[in-house]
Amino acid sequence: MIRETAVILVCGAMSLFSYPKIDKILEDLDGRYSMVADVKAKVELTQQKANQGTKKLEMTYYRSDKDKTFLIVMDAPENEKGNGYLRMEDNFWMYRRNTRTFQHINRDESIGGSDAKGDDFEDKKLTEMYKAAVDSNGNEIISDDTLGKIDVYRFEITAKVNDVDYPKKIYWMRKDNGLILKEAAYSQSGTLMQTAYYLKYTTIRKRQIAVKILYVDEFEKGNKSVVEISGISIDDLSDDIFTKAYLENLSK
């Protein structure tokens, strides 16, 4: 009896220690994705909706590292060209080229009429928003899995703050290099709402950046969006870029 109990304990301990801690994974992910530099990049968003055809948006994204400010300048389609979105501290403005006016909008408002929102472009830390999900025994929910032929860890996290889109997420992370390959987002009612596939990564200053992501709307079948990031530059950006005047000058 004592021997049997000892075996169960050892096996339990082994399985417990064979997985990395989820909070540590989140910390690593924050470190991996957090770009400690100014950033300029071209972002292409292709959105396909059931029975509505395809919509393609192109924009230039500028981010200042020191004060968490960002600017989005729309490059395409033609009717959106020159419009922009400027985030400074708590303020978020939308600029309309035609009327040359700035309007205060909420962070959760759409960018260029797409499903993308202002807060999607913010630099948010996973560790501040989520924590490891635990099962009824108090163990973190993490297991082995495979995506295609790639060995991955499948782990679950839950929100620790309300300020998130989805209170529960499941990630599939490569075992060999720690890159996220897939992310499933669930609503409070437990419905799978969205799946994200991280299709392509690039390395900048030894940090892995996802440059092609496919978002599949699991609620309304047939809707999907592809985000492609290119022309990433991490050179210092002038403070003048993050001003209303810069946006206004662009449309002159």
């Binding site: 989805y166 209170p167 009612s189 609620f219």
Partner: protein, 586 residues
């Protein structure tokens, strides 16, 4: 006097055909005037008691949290309702107004919808009947919306049901935002399909308000924007709004809590919120002695006294849990605070006080409304004369009353752009919030009134002409009665009485005819289709609302105009000398 009346009445019977025709003209004018007035009042009735009540309320109490117009919630709901019931003891109803955009998926079809909360218990029996009238059910029953045995029962219009390809008993899957901004998916059951009373009713999907609040994540003590329906809206709306405004003044916000430091050391403290605008931060900096003078006051600041930090063995950067007694249900609230800096306590800010930035403060405060800290003897309650009183957060932010719709829009924009923390509360009467609808009512009334008065003046020209003819015809008769001794004033009064009785009888006949015509017209059903004019109909019928005051007023007006019109020809007739009148020959 009696003989004058008798002569007048006899004279009325002399030229029967002419008087009947004149009487018909006056009666017709009266009928049109009363009908137009009743129709105008009917529109007014529909606008005030059906459209304004649902669109903006006669008086509304609006809430928005953290400057977000879509987060319409007030967390101390029982208190707000109590204040309103005290302020307005005689109101028809108070109901929560909730509308939320959602994406709905039916049977292989999807569409955007608006989920609207319907409060089945608000209002009196008449309101319930009106509600049932608005929802002419094709399948299912209106009351099924409140059936808790059905999973999230909803009613929708036949147009929406057709588009989403659903029928009674089918499930609608919906995606929407919860109160906290999270994406949520739920299932709704089609409990009934109705024929919309007007164009606007074809869009929303109706959900029982309690069920909708639950779907959106409201807690039991949370309420949404309140719409008040008054018994005398035109007269009382502004006064009621002013009264509620004066009673909704917020008190200082504070939490008396147990906090736990290192080694499970506990202390009881008063937690106060601090405003984050530049002026408040500057004032606080001048009043607080920070241990580390390089510490900045930011929107993330949480200050704890050095002596309390020493007792709890905590330092800046540490996170401390807190627990407190909630206001309702003997419940407890809890939260965390992350210390950012230490201050030296003094007589203004004692050691058992924690000053918290308003973002984190309201997060805890609103998560579970705390018991009133001012009634706890051990709690620190700053005096209103205290030098830091101005920087401390109130329970909510009461916005000043506005006078016009444009001021209201400007105010809403400012609340959003300044991202005012906490719940902003604004009280509005329909004159500010629904001025467009009220202006429409005024315009319709004026157009109707002017058109009818023009018609009536045309009729009066006929009256004057007829009187002049009558006097001319009776000139020799006037000479005779003047010769046998009738006074000038009596002659004048004979004509005035004659006109008075003619217009009185005609006006009464016109009133009867107006009621008959209104009843007949009301029987016809008008299919307005998608025409917005349909919103002015009641179940497809024209709605007339005649009032006794206006009818009596119109009859008096008609008689007065007719008598005034008759007065001058009558005076001219009475001024004729008898000899001259007797010589008159045509």
């Amino acid at each position: 006097m009696n003989y004058l009346i008798k002569i007048s009445l006899r004279n009325l019977q002399r030229q029967k055909r002419r008087n009947v025709l004149l009487g018909v003209a006056i009666a017709f004018g009266t009928m049109v005037l009363i009908m137009a007035s009743a129709f105008s009042h009917g529109i007014s009735d529909v606008l005030f008691n059906q459209i304004v009540v649902y669109v903006a309320g006669h008086v509304s109490v609006n809430f928005s949290e953290n400057g977000n117009q879509f987060t319409q919630v007030f967390h101390d709901g029982p208190r707000a309702l109590d204040i309103i019931k005290k302020a307005v003891p005689e109101m028809r109803s108070v109901q929560e107004s909730m509308g939320i955009m959602a994406r709905a998926i039916g049977n292989a079809k999807s569409d955007n919808i608006i989920m609207i909360g319907v409060d089945l218990k608000a209002g009196d029996e008449q309101d319930a009947k009106d509600a049932e009238k608005n929802f002419k059910m094709i399948t299912g029953s209106f009351s099924d919306i409140g059936d808790t045995a059905i999973e999230n029962a909803v009613l929708l219009s036949e147009q929406k049901a057709k588009y989403l390809n659903v029928k009674k008993g089918d499930i609608l899957r919906v995606r929407y935002k919860l109160l906290n901004g999270q994406d949520q998916a739920s299932r709704l059951t089609v409990a009934g399909i109705f024929k919309p009373a007007n164009l606007f009713m074809s869009v929303p999907v109706m959900v029982e308000v309690k069920a909708l609040k639950k779907l959106l994540g409201y807690s039991p003590d949370d309420i949404a924007t309140l719409y008040l329906s008054l018994k005398k809206p035109k007269k009382d709306a502004v006064d009621v709004a002013d009264k509620i405004q004066s009673l909704m003044k917020p008190s200082l916000a504070g939490i008396y809590a147990d906090i736990t430091g290192k080694d499970s050391i506990r202390a009881r403290v008063t937690i106060l919120g601090c405003k984050s605008d530049t002026a408040s931060k500057r004032l606080l900096k001048s009043k607080i002695s920070l241990i580390d003078s390089s510490s900045e006051i930011t929107k993330e600041s949480v200050f704890i006294s050095d002596s309390l930090a020493s007792v709890l063995k905590v330092k800046p950067g540490d996170q401390i849990p807190l627990v407190y007694i909630a206001k309702y249900d003997n419940d407890k609230g809890q939260g965390y605070l992350k210390i950012s800096a230490l201050f030296k306590s003094d007589s203004v800010i004692p050691s058992n006080v924690i000053l918290v930035n308003e973002i984190d403060f309201y997060k805890v405060f609103y998560s579970k409304w705390p018991a009133d800290f001012t009634k706890i003897p051990e709690a620190f309650v700053p005096d209103s004369q205290s030098s830091i009183y101005g920087v401390l957060s109130k329970e909510w932010n009461l916005l000043p009353r506005v006078k016009t719709t444009s001021e209201m829009t400007k105010q809403q924009r400012e609340v959003g752009s300044k991202r005012i923390r906490g719940t902003s509360v604004s009280v509005q009467s329909m004159y500010e919030s629904a001025s467009a609808v009220l202006n429409l009512e005024k315009a319709l009334y004026m157009i109707t009134f002017i058109a009818v008065m023009i018609l009536f003046f045309i009729i009066l020209i006929g009256v004057v002409n007829t009187l002049r003819m009558t006097i001319r015809e009776r000139t020799r008769e006037i000479g005779t009665i003047r010769a046998i001794g009738m006074q000038k004033s009596d002659v004048k009064m004979t004509f005035v009485f004659e006109t008075f009785f003619l217009s009185l009888f005609s006006a009464l006949a016109g009133t009867v005819a107006a009621f008959a015509a209104m009843n007949v017209i009301s029987l016809f059903k008008i299919d307005a289709g998608d025409n917005p004019i349909g919103m002015l109909l009641t179940n497809g019928h024209l709605h007339f609302a005649p009032t006794a005051v206006s009818i009596i007023g119109f009859i008096i007006l008609i008689i007065a105009i007719a008598v005034a019109t008759a007065y001058f020809p009558a005076r001219k007739a009475s001024n004729l000398s008898s000899a001259e009148a007797l010589r008159h020959y045509e």
